[in-house]
Symmetry: D2
């Protein structure tokens, strides 16, 4: 049985800063918007990243991927959705989509894979070492 | 027998603009540096992207991926290498590495996958439609 | 008697992308946020920039200035205020402040000065050539 | 008698990342390039910023200004010149120009004004407190 992942939504308006001379949003900027989605997902779930860092838990990015489906343009209102795909050992996988907020048209989908580490970037098995933090992160995914 | 891909080199110095509050280069900026590598690869090979565009050939990004191996910091001198992995139908796959220019330490490796299209973003089979441009692009890879 | 300028408000959350290795918001990014302020000011006033461009009116930036009062950090919620200082001949002067939305603490204040031009970047005296557009822009300032 | 200020040169190629949907370099990015000019000026003069920071001297930006003279476009090779205008008390004023490296055409001119502080951002009178560092900074200007 598939476990459904709760999605969290945030939004950003594409400004000239985000576009390029092809007159579309510069492809790299969607991955910057993934950070907005991730940040707001954690805040909305009640376990903001600032609090994780206070708990001594870091989530450095170890891999990103993004597929481009259609181009967003200047002044488009972008809906970013983010969700936790899984938490496994010292790894968190997060999924994203960027869509036109008005039409629902898909611009991109992608992922970021994060290590779970201490401030010295040593991997930590969250479930064993910080069971409370692990429960909070699982709650982001499931609730 | 494996075909070796010719690598092209360019460089960039990490400035504060490239870093983030984790005191390392912000992960997204390496993918921006891939564009430098791609741009210089085409220029060095004698078929700059501006000339491709003049020939009516566009290469929109359809997918990117990046793996993070070690963090670059402020003032590091980054060597970007770029190479064409393959040209197939209306698709070009380009590979990249970013290393410390002095020590050779690997920061990231990644790829960008591009469509080959006309200015209306319609895919074109380069080999059939623009055999001369195809030969030039193959030469980037092989020579 | 001083004419009061109507202020328009927008907001942005500082993410890692916005910060630098000094662990504060990178100074240049406030000027990018000015664009958000300007864009939302025009939208809120009922004369969005996309509509101006449709009317054949461009507002290229001819000068910017920014003074830094205190540093914003990661995860701060930034309130951007923007207002039109004046419209004179073919020039629009826009003022900005960025403050902490919760505490009101001032981060920066600045301005952007824009030409009013046609799509060929030729200056146009808005009041004479497009009196309706001029009235709309004056309304942004005063209402 | 006017004291001539030694200029230091660096260069950057405009890529799509630097441009916007107006098909020119996004105005804010020149100010990012000022940082390249400043960084290379200090390095070329023999007193790189990393060394200043090791000496306990920080130079936070307190004001920037930029005037836009003509637009740079994709693939333009930009020559950045930077020079120290003056060092006075706990303030350093730096001037910049961005030109087309091939034609000499002026794109922008601007300045950044910096405080001279300790790592706690307390102003320090360089001449009195760190006379050696002061001499090095004066040498950047004069030599």
């Amino acid at each position: 049985m598939e476990r459904r992942h709760k999605k969290y939504y945030s939004r950003v308006r594409a400004i000239f800063a985000d576009t390029d001379a092809m007159q579309v949003v510069y492809h790299v900027n969607y991955i910057k918007w993934f950070e907005i989605g991730r940040n707001e997902m954690l805040r909305q779930s009640g376990y903001p990243y600032t609090e994780m860092v206070d708990d001594g838990i870091w989530m450095p990015v170890v891999e990103v991927g993004c597929e481009y489906k259609s181009p967003a343009i200047y002044d488009d209102l972008i809906e970013i959705s983010a969700w936790i795909e899984y938490v496994k050992g010292a790894v968190v996988m997060i999924g994203y989509e960027c869509r036109n907020e008005e039409t629902g048209k898909l611009y991109v989908k992608g992922f970021t894979k994060h290590g779970i580490t201490d401030p010295d970037l040593k991997p930590i098995n969250l479930k064993k070492v910080y069971p409370k933090a692990y429960e909070k992160l699982m709650a982001v995914m499931e609730k």
